[in-house]
């Protein structure tokens, strides 16, 4: 997993709530057995007209927004299916961070596992960012993961959280900052796993 320190990038505004993972990547594109190659199918059904041509009204088909690296949406982003392919598709496309007022839990977990940074901001700031991005293609945000702050060149400068559970927030931030492999971390506890199997499960 790549590490993430801070990132300045163009915003792709997706002014919708409850964006489900079936929209992020429809089921017919889940058949690949690799983690790569999902980018072209990101938001496939929203991106394409019935004739298969790009829908010019969809934000990912519009200039500047198509090269965004920060996707901004409203509440409950990533609801529905557990498919990690949704995170892979977003990252394969080039997104480094998703900014939303809340995330569905499985998507949220999958984001941490892959180093896609989930930025949680209050609705009012989401509205500000969506308005600014809509008014100005190429509008950029700066995400400072060390200090958990989001800013732009127009005076926005606000703190964010990555996780609603304050007790593990710093741990989650550190895994993103350092690109840690969670399996490697757990395997360091192997003696405790052995002990659990022996003493509690009596295996």
């Amino acid at each position: 997993m790549d590490s993430f320190d801070n990132h300045k990038g163009i915003v792709t505004p997706l002014d919708r709530s409850n964006v489900d993972t079936d929209q992020i990547i429809p089921a017919e594109y889940l058949k690949r057995v690799e983690r790569t190659g999902f980018g072209p199918f990101l938001f496939n059904d929203w991106r394409k007209l019935p004739n298969g041509k790009p829908d010019p009204d969809f934000v990912l088909n519009q200039s500047f927004y198509d090269i965004g690296t920060i996707l901004v949406a409203r509440r409950n982003f990533g609801s529905g299916s557990s498919r990690e392919h949704a995170v892979w598709a977003l990252m394969n496309h080039g997104f480094k961070a998703i900014v939303a007022s809340s995330f569905a839990e499985i998507f949220h977990k999958n984001s941490f596992e892959n180093g896609l940074v989930p930025v949680i901001l209050p609705d009012e700031h989401i509205s500000t960012i969506l308005d600014r991005a809509a008014a100005q293609p190429g509008y950029q945000l700066f995400i400072d993961l060390n200090n958990c702050e989001v800013s732009d060149d127009h005076g926005l400068h606000v703190p964010f959280v990555l996780h609603q559970d304050p007790s593990t927030h710093d741990f989650r931030r550190n895994t993103l900052l350092n690109g840690l492999d969670s399996i490697g971390l757990t395997l360091q506890q192997e003696t405790k796993i052995d002990a659990y199997e022996k003493n509690v499960r009596h295996d």
Partner: protein, 470 residues
Amino acid sequence: MAGKTMFNKIWDSHIVDDPEGEPTLLYVDLHLVHEVTSPQAFEGLRLANRKVRRPDLTIATVDHNVPTTDRDKPIDDPISKQQVDTLAENVEEFDITFYGVHSPEQGIVHVIGPQQGYTQPGKIIVCGDSHTATHGAFGAMAIPLGTSQVEHVLATQCLLQEKPKTMEIRINGELPNGVSAKDVILGIIGKIGVDGGTGYAIEYTGDVIKNLPMEGRMTICNMSIEAGARVGMVAPDETTFEWLKGRPQVPQGDDFEQITKEWALLASDSDAEYDKVVEIDATELEPYITWGTNPGQVLSVKDSIPDPESFDNAEEKESAERALEYMALEPETPLVEIEVDRVFIGSCTNSRITDLRDAAEIIKGYKVSPKVNAMVVPGSTLVKWQAEKEGLDQIFIDSGFEWREAGCSMCLGMNPDILEPHERCASTSNRNFEGRQGKDGRTHLVSPQMAAAAAIEGHFVDVRDWKLNN
């Protein structure tokens, strides 16, 4: 000090490590694997030269991609075939018990886990599938995973997990006639919203739950994720024990008597406190139909399509406008006037034997509307055989339904069972998202009874008014 919830009892008994400021490391008793969310996990193990720690606690099946028609032919779609073949190779390499497409025990992963008795009270059960909470109906803590976590469990048999808060949803009273378990969960989602359960583990309690058979409890737990909650559970009781008794993986004889005593202790203590309590009066529940493109956009069968202008909240208004455009529906249209092209009875929500009995009772002696293409996809091969033994298959076939082989099928359309663009479907599945059952397809979620009646009439009807023709 207050007593403990069932959730906390199971959580506490599975802690391997709980360092300050980090997620808890929990031991996993059962890992269910299917073909869609596992190939990259096995590949990750190979790349890191890791093994499956406990192949004996891991089982696999194929369900999402498998055809529901002639199983003797190879899978037409080469990419689906590769995914199915890849799982067969992985279970061989890592020595995992596998129920392949020709196995009598094959079926939807959330149907076969309970069916074979792998699912048991008190276990932590995981699966790379959002509907894993289904197993919580047995008093287990069942948690859905993404592929990276699947790999984590394969390698370590443990899960890193932040502790969710607890929510009790208590459904008091008695279910009215014609109102099913599916309507209970659709009613709950309508009430608390599609993210009302986010951050919580839900325990469903109350007289309605106590009186439901296991299949109904599974239907309710199954759709916890549609309310945002990863975990949904029901306390184990005599109904649970009776259902599990004699199943292949369940202890037999004296061992069974002993283990049921332990299982009985799992229920939440009477003085346990939840972080949140939601009470629902069962007498107010009705048969429901989703009208929009998320499961929270749901109304009683006797209602009409809402006018987006009627929503106070700008976000809900816009969401309703988008949904009605996608669903090609006009405000104020009575739901019973909506005509359907397809009917799908199946999915991990509603494909068990009682679901098929409920649907068959409605259609017996009637013919499917000539405008409608209707199909039944049992949840497992053994459910199919049981239904055939009871003669249900003949009732469906005589009525004009297609009778298929077991799998996920048109719940998500990874196999050839999909809606054509703009087709409208009454479906017993769990998601009415845009394109869920096929690009530009339109899905209305309903109970098996409501789906069956819609197949006969060609439009939705209030199943409470249905005249049985037996």
